[in-house]
């Protein structure tokens, strides 16, 4: 009887605590698009709906006050960014194969327009063909649009401008963190470590938002283009340093400052069934010689487990990328952890699928991608030669946009010099925000002949706190 009383008291206490907290619970507005909502609005395959200008336009999705807070005068943003980087892309292109004008081109036109070969990244030109095995992601038809000026939100542009001349690299080409406060660190790369500066622009670009909730859907294709993987995942991510766009500005909190933390995220799976309820927690550090911390809530064990932070080269669960390929290039520049020798091997314009503003891009069952908007972009091509002979790649070739610092295409070669993996990223531009969204991506394994195709959506999430992305977040989102 005594135990029944104890149990009743415990239950009553719990109920009271819950009751007291209900108002606080209701007050918090967590704006997000779940994986299910995303799939309802935009299927991964065969779905040309321009979702970003219709059902999931940010003006519709975000609360008016948040939308207003993140929106700036477009002309002012354009002007300031051109001043910061020293040029505007439309003025920098048009010199190579000028006969290629805006319009639609079929792969059958390749002979008719030989200039396309010179204008396109070689791999893009190779995949400018009808779809079919063994690799997905062909472009049977491309839509060339006029080159547009891209820019960043005013706070990012202002922070970038303020950093000109202040942000520095050390004698080894590694950024001096104390000199970087926010924005793109090197809007006008130059000098001995110009290639490193170009890479730092990518590493430090806050995509898409400093506090973000994103959802992504992924399919994997075998060499016969049979679908062998389907993954649905959500991401909660907070950038902890260099915040200029979303509050809190500067450092996210004192802990981040004290521990030199750069980013913390939880990545949680909805599908496939075996992955459902798994949550990966990651904290990355600014120290170039420090590995990220990795934790995993394991669904089958109902337990959080510390993962090896050094296990970054193995393919992730049969996918076409490893941790070091995260976001195209998931590595810090370091003199101790897989150091690179970086050199700019080309600085020229390319015709690339840079940004599709309305979100209408899609892949069909033949593995052909349509509705991408191809435009001439001024780009850097950087060769990153790996100095550790036991690393998974001997070198990487990365294509980075000059105007925005965005990485759009990466080719990774194994230690035998064979093309091993490649990734192509395309992010939608939201003009009123001066920001790039989540977008779609293509990852290929050229040795195993396997392809992954991803599309997703992200919203700014000012409601995110450490509780969402910490140990608690793992337990809450885990099965």
């Amino acid at each position: 009887m005594k135990q029944v009383k104890i149990f009743s008291i415990c239950f009553l206490f719990l109920s009271l605590v819950l009751g007291v907290m209900v108002p606080a619970l209701r007050a918090a507005e967590e704006v997000k698009i779940t994986a299910q909502e995303w799939e309802k609005n935009k299927r991964l395959m065969d779905d040309p709906r321009p979702v970003l200008t219709t059902t999931l336009a940010y003006k519709k999705v975000l609360p008016p006050d948040l939308y207003a807070k993140l929106t700036y005068d477009v002309e002012e943003m354009k002007k300031l960014w051109a001043e910061v980087v020293g040029f505007s892309a439309p003025n920098e292109v048009g010199k190579i194969a000028p006969e290629i004008k805006p319009g639609t081109y079929s792969y059958k036109d390749k002979e008719k327009y030989p200039g396309l070969k010179e204008l396109m990244i070689p791999m893009h030109y190779e995949f400018f063909k009808a779809g079919g095995p063994p690799l997905a992601g062909s472009y049977a038809e491309i839509k060339v649009v006029r080159t547009r000026q891209y820019y960043f939100a005013l706070p990012i542009a202002k922070a970038t401008k303020e950093g000109i001349g202040r942000v520095q690299l050390d004698d080894n080409g590694i950024i001096k963190e104390e000199t970087w406060v926010g924005g793109l660190p090197f809007p006008r790369p130059e000098g001995k470590f110009k290639a490193n500066q170009v890479i730092y622009n990518w590493i430090k670009t806050p995509l898409p938002w400093e506090s973000m909730y994103a959802t992504s859907v992924n399919k994997g294709f075998t060499r016969t283009l049979r679908v062998d993987q389907e993954m649905v995942a959500n991401i909660m991510q907070i950038i902890l340093k260099g915040r200029v766009h979303m509050e809190p500005y500067g450092w996210f909190d004192e802990r981040a400052k004290t521990n030199g933390e750069y980013l913390q995220m939880n990545f949680f799976y909805n599908a496939p069934r075996d992955m459902y309820g798994n949550v990966i927690g990651m904290t990355s550090y600014l120290d170039p010689d420090k590995y990220d911390q990795m934790m995993l809530y394991i669904n089958a064990l109902r337990r959080v487990r510390l993962l090896s932070a050094t296990d970054i080269q193995d393919a992730i669960g049969g996918a076409d990328y490893a941790y070091v390929d995260n976001n195209g290039l998931g590595q810090k520049l370091s003199t101790t952890i897989f150091p690179y020798k970086n050199e700019i091997i080309a600085e020229r314009e390319y015709l690339v699928p840079f940004s599709t503003w309305d979100g209408s891009e899609y892949m069909n069952e033949k593995g052909e991608i349509y509705n991408l908007e191809w435009e001439r972009r001024p780009m850097y091509v950087v060769k990153m030669t790996q100095l550790d002979k036991n690393f998974v790649y001997s070198y990487r070739i990365v294509y980075i946009d000059k105007e925005t610092g965005l990485l759009t295409h990466v080719e990774n070669y194994d230690q035998k010099g064979r093309l091993y993996r490649s990734t192509v990223g395309q992010r939608p531009f939201i003009p009123e925000f001066g920001k790039f969204g989540f977008g779609c991506g293509l990852a290929r394994d050229h040795l195993d002949l396997h392809t992954s195709w991803t599309n997703g959506y992200a919203v700014p999430a000012p409601w995110l706190t450490r509780a969402n992305v910490s140990l608690r977040g793992l337990v809450v989102k885990g099965k």
């Binding site: 135990q3 149990f7 993987q229 599908a271 069934r273 932070a309």
Partner: protein, 503 residues
């Protein structure tokens, strides 16, 4: 009546299979404007034994089917219900209905125990509601609370019971752990300390709404089925135990409390654990007539006498404090091994006044007595690149060492199955080929005290995210008769499993 029940089960199985292959089920349901996600799997496994002995068959040994459905309903952003249900049927009892050898060895008599898992707590796996306001987590219902760090040996993970009636190799790993009725409350204070990144305080209360203990291997073919251990008795076989086990009364007895502090600090994970409750396995003492044949099955099919042990027992108190620690040893990463550092996981608990059965080796009479009990283990996981064997993917090694000491071991009497110092090891290695589609693995468990071994070579082929095929073997080899894993020497078998998963 039984026939009717079986027809109902077939109907449920058929319906579940039909739902499984319907793609619509993988979609999200919208219930009252909120998302309901459904997942599940269906598996069918066959095992084939090598030895024709009294305790096993040299042909098909089991035909186990599992139908599992789980659902996740988000009532609000911070309020969620999770439920899972499972139907397990071993079709071997139907397939061998007229098999003379099967019936003569009394395996058919284990049908009530092992044919269909039809108790409510077997059909209903988890049913829990979770509320996560602010820095808290509250979870009420039938659930799993998992403690500890090691993957192989279970040291700190003592809250939920296990179902091992069908052997040590998980039928489905996730579902060998039996969810029980619990209340859990977590609090994660917000810290701004440079050395302590995360702190979690976890409180677990078991009101003993329903006492569900470990489902251990049963003695005798008539109850333990194909997995009944082969206990050596000259001229006889050990048959079903006649037991009188005292179980804690619902609500009134057997209440359990657990508290755990979890910390993510200095690049390591550490926990402090405290538990007060009941052991999930009983302790028993022989009672008159101690051991005896019982009609109608006096003799086994091989002519040996069938002897039934008579025993009484209870589920004793289990009180322990413990700690776990996990850290990656980054300085040990070596470029030529693939640059991955080993991660070390430690677990240790000290149980106070645990109850054991002290047995007189001459009279074989037993009595309950108490001793403190120390259990510890260390695990090292290390991914290594062995390019000549696999150019693309690493080999994942997991090695464990388990040590258990009975602090006040009797000087003359013995504790069945335990010495004062007990040692076991575990080693597992796996890698992947063909873009993660083919996963060969090898697991070896070694009981040092009895010098007995258990090997599990396995090959998993993942055709896609729906279809999975497994071919493997379970092999036992013991040096000392009747000790450790030697009790299962006759159980060597190969198995094949096909699984369809959806969601």
């Amino acid at each position: 009546m039984k026939k009717k029940r079986f027809l109902v089960l077939i109907l449920v199985a058929g319906l579940t299979i039909a739902l499984t292959i319907s793609s619509a089920i993988a979609e999200e349901f919208n219930v009252f404007g909120r998302p309901l996600l459904l997942f599940g799997y269906a598996t069918q496994e066959f095992s084939y034994g090598f030895k024709d002995k009294y305790d096993t068959e040299s042909n098909l040994n089991s035909a186990l089917m599992n139908l599992f459905v789980e659902g996740d309903y988000k009532i609000t952003d911070t309020l969620k219900f999770y439920g899972s249900s499972m139907l397990t049927v071993d079709w071997i009892y139907q397939l061998k209905h007229n098999d003379n050898s099967w019936n003569d060895k009394l395996f058919a008599k284990s049908k009530d125990e092992l044919n269909v898992d039809d108790k409510y707590w077997q059909l209903l796996k988890e049913a829990r509601i979770t509320w996560t306001p602010s820095d808290f987590l509250f979870r009420v219902g039938k659930q799993i609370v998992s403690w500890g760090e090691l993957l192989g040996f279970r040291i700190m993970d003592q809250i939920n019971p296990l179902d091992q009636r069908r052997g040590f190799l998980d039928v489905e790993f996730e579902t060998t752990i039996i969810p029980i009725w619990l209340i859990r409350a977590d609090y994660y204070p917000r810290l701004n300390l440079s050395w302590l990144q995360d702190l979690g305080l976890e409180f677990v209360y078991n009101p003993n709404a329903d006492f569900i203990p470990n489902q251990d291997l049963k003695l005798g073919n008539a109850e333990g089925g194909i997995w009944a251990p082969n206990v050596p008795i000259p001229g006889a076989h050990l048959a079903t135990a006649i037991s009188n086990i005292d179980t804690p009364k619902k609500w009134r007895e057997g209440n359990e409390f657990g508290f755990r502090a979890k910390a993510n600090m200095l690049g390591a994970m550490a926990t402090l654990n405290f538990f007060y409750g009941r052991d999930n396995s009983p302790v028993t003492v022989p009672v008159p007539p101690f051991i005896s044949p019982l009609p109608p099955d006096i003799l086994a099919s091989d002519g040996a006498l069938l002897l039934h042990p008579f025993q009484a027992g209870k589920y004793p108190l289990l009180k322990f404090v413990g700690l776990t620690f996990a850290k990656e040893i980054i300085p040990l990463r070596a470029s030529f091994l693939g640059d991955v550092a080993p991660t070390v996981y430690l677990e240790a608990l000290y149980a106070f006044d645990s109850t054991f059965t002290f047995t007189n080796p001459i009279t074989t009479l037993g009595r309950f007595d108490q001793s403190d009990d120390f259990r510890s283990g260390i695990e090292v996981t290390w991914k290594v690149k062995i390019t000549p064997l696999n150019a693309r993917t690493y080999f994942a090694f997991t090695g464990e060492f388990f040590y258990r000491r009975i602090m006040d071991y009797p000087s003359f009497e013995e504790i069945a199955g335990l010495k004062q110092n007990n040692y076991q090891t575990f080693l597992s290695v796996n890698t992947q080929y063909f873009h993660g589609k083919l996963t060969p693995s090898f697991t070896w468990i070694h009981d040092i005290n009895s010098n007995s071994n258990y090997f599990i070579p396995k090959l998993v082929y993942d055709y896609d995210y729906h279809w999975h095929f497994t071919l493997g073997a379970q092999l036992f080899k013991g040096a000392k008769e009747g000790e450790g894993l030697q009790l299962f020497d006759n159980k060597n078998q190969i198995f094949f499993k096909v699984a369809y998963k959806w969601g």
